[in-house]
Symmetry: C2
Subunit: 398 residues, 2 copies
Amino acid sequence: MINDKMYALGSQRSEIRELFEYGKKRKAEIGEENVFDFSLGNPSVPCPEEVNEAIVSLVRSGNSVSLHGYTSAQGDKGVRDAIASHISRAHGFEVSGDDLYLTVGAAAALTCSLTATVCPGEEVILLAPYFPEYKVFVERTGASVKVVKCTEGSFEPDVDAIRSAITERTAAIIVNSPNNPTGAVYSESSIKAIVEVLNEKSREYGRDIYLIADEPYRELVYDGVYVPFIPKYYDNTIVCYSYSKSLSLPGERIGYCLVSPRAHEHLRVYLAICGAGRALGYVCAPSLLQKAIPYCIGLYSDLSVYDKNRQLLLTNLTEYGFEVVKPQGAFYLFIKAPDGNSKAFSEEAKKHELLIVASDSFGYSGYARISYCVKTEQIEKALPAFRALAERLGLCGE
Amino acid sequence: MINDKMYALGSQRSEIRELFEYGKKRKAEIGEENVFDFSLGNPSVPCPEEVNEAIVSLVRSGNSVSLHGYTSAQGDKGVRDAIASHISRAHGFEVSGDDLYLTVGAAAALTCSLTATVCPGEEVILLAPYFPEYKVFVERTGASVKVVKCTEGSFEPDVDAIRSAITERTAAIIVNSPNNPTGAVYSESSIKAIVEVLNEKSREYGRDIYLIADEPYRELVYDGVYVPFIPKYYDNTIVCYSYSKSLSLPGERIGYCLVSPRAHEHLRVYLAICGAGRALGYVCAPSLLQKAIPYCIGLYSDLSVYDKNRQLLLTNLTEYGFEVVKPQGAFYLFIKAPDGNSKAFSEEAKKHELLIVASDSFGYSGYARISYCVKTEQIEKALPAFRALAERLGLCGE
């Protein structure tokens, strides 16, 4: 007599996790160095030394009761103020600590934002390809998912398709740029076009449609590409952020929701997020990590290795005859299945010990995702396998 | 167009929090030392030094990528195994790491356990007085709460009333011993009697009824009182534990669900908890704190100050003519409102700068809760105010 939906979620591993587990098994069989695991989005570079030094200095500071004690549910006020100052400076857009609700990572920021702004029976728009957990998070609220495909090639949002998908039951849209799994960074003109549609449809249906901007990869961009700060363009925006990728702290679960100060029902949305946090069992974000953040604001892990990996893959995979999407951000590369069958492509890659995730998991067929947050050496060693795969698939001669 | 239920939860502060905020304001007005705040259950003693040393040694160990990286969703295997060994030794009851699911504190353990075992439309039994968030957690699952009052005086569970309350829709019962707010520790005979009823009713209705044992205060007991380890008595038990009180780490959010290895659908329940954690946005428990736990297993904060506080309050409040429940555990004292009106009692206490929480918040009228996890000095200084309150209420002469 347990909850079957939860059992299904717990027992059916995601395909990403399934492939990762296969990789572990395979490594045990043929040796770690002979398996090229590109399945997970787990940062491969350490956090800046300042993070660890802040932790040491905080625990050595002598006041354990307050350091490890409950903070207020929305997070320590001083920490929120420090983050708010940084956001205001970085984006030229004034926010205050009272717009921020600190969370146990970006996943919690998403579940709290969705639980706050979505009611059972409503709809949330996802732009495919999308991070698979979005669907889990949306459906848990009792709402349903409406998938809108991005434009193949650029993988920018298809704004006309978004317009057609919005109904009187649309509560929110999730926008994830830099994108997992394509590496696309949505252009300013795309954001402006989405905003126009949201404003038009909000008026038409007499309701606020929330834009939930999932931005764990904000700082992971290449060639100086510009990532529009969405609250500047759309009032009813909630930004979900995490330090998982920028500071390489994915296990520590520290992030935030930023409710735009221009949201029409700012205080009500903010309080609904507090209520959602309470109902889901989030008492506060981990206190030691909260307090370490002000020491590390504006610092980032050394992200240059990701760019090096990106270049290496781009140059060589293209040379071998693969069609790939040039990533502008994040640490994912979207590679086209030559015959359009992503599952068969991922399976064929497996025979060459290349573990890449079929794109069907992301609500989009015909591609596979290569996570290049790995040691550069792994890529160098994997290149002959990619070449052999291309040959097997008839992409390059010899 | 936000979720009104979540807005209500976020905007209506709990009475406990309301009183605490009043206290902060009042302290600013008349001086910190003149307000006697007994509102919150926030540990007042520091964590054992070993916790901080473990944290320092882990961050100095040099492998930041793995230290701060994702663990598996159910928690690091080595950490789970270490906790399982300790539980097995401490209770003479064999459990394995695979029975444990590490959580972001006890609140998360409760929301995950409830989400896993309860379906919309079902019922969960709470024994009043109860921790107010239980109601929030249960109702968020779409189930409803059925409140069964404990026996006044002993504040042991009323087993006949539990029997009458169970229906074919009863999915679970939450048992919290040592209890917040009464300080009662349910006796072995009470636990055995509850188990008998649960077994009888499970048979009658042909379904497993889960016993969710919320045990953050397990180690906070006085006079060597015995706290029955419920999995020994009842197969379908899930223990929710937190290191918040035992190690004074409430802000760090680290705890676990233990699914009894004897649970009839052990694997299904465990996987449903994993699924619930996933759906609620809990990716993993904070990794640094997870990894610090094995260094601190079996250690506890110096809890003797709580016993000292307890004795001081017991002796003096009784002398002043108050009727109090002798606490056997936790750090709460339940004091009777002389005329049965708990709200008026708490308000009258406020006039004497004594901040104690009216028991109505806990689903039980006629009492107030004194949280004595404070400096002993605060109690010493508050005693004249308690005496004056007793005089005002006509409890003692002179």
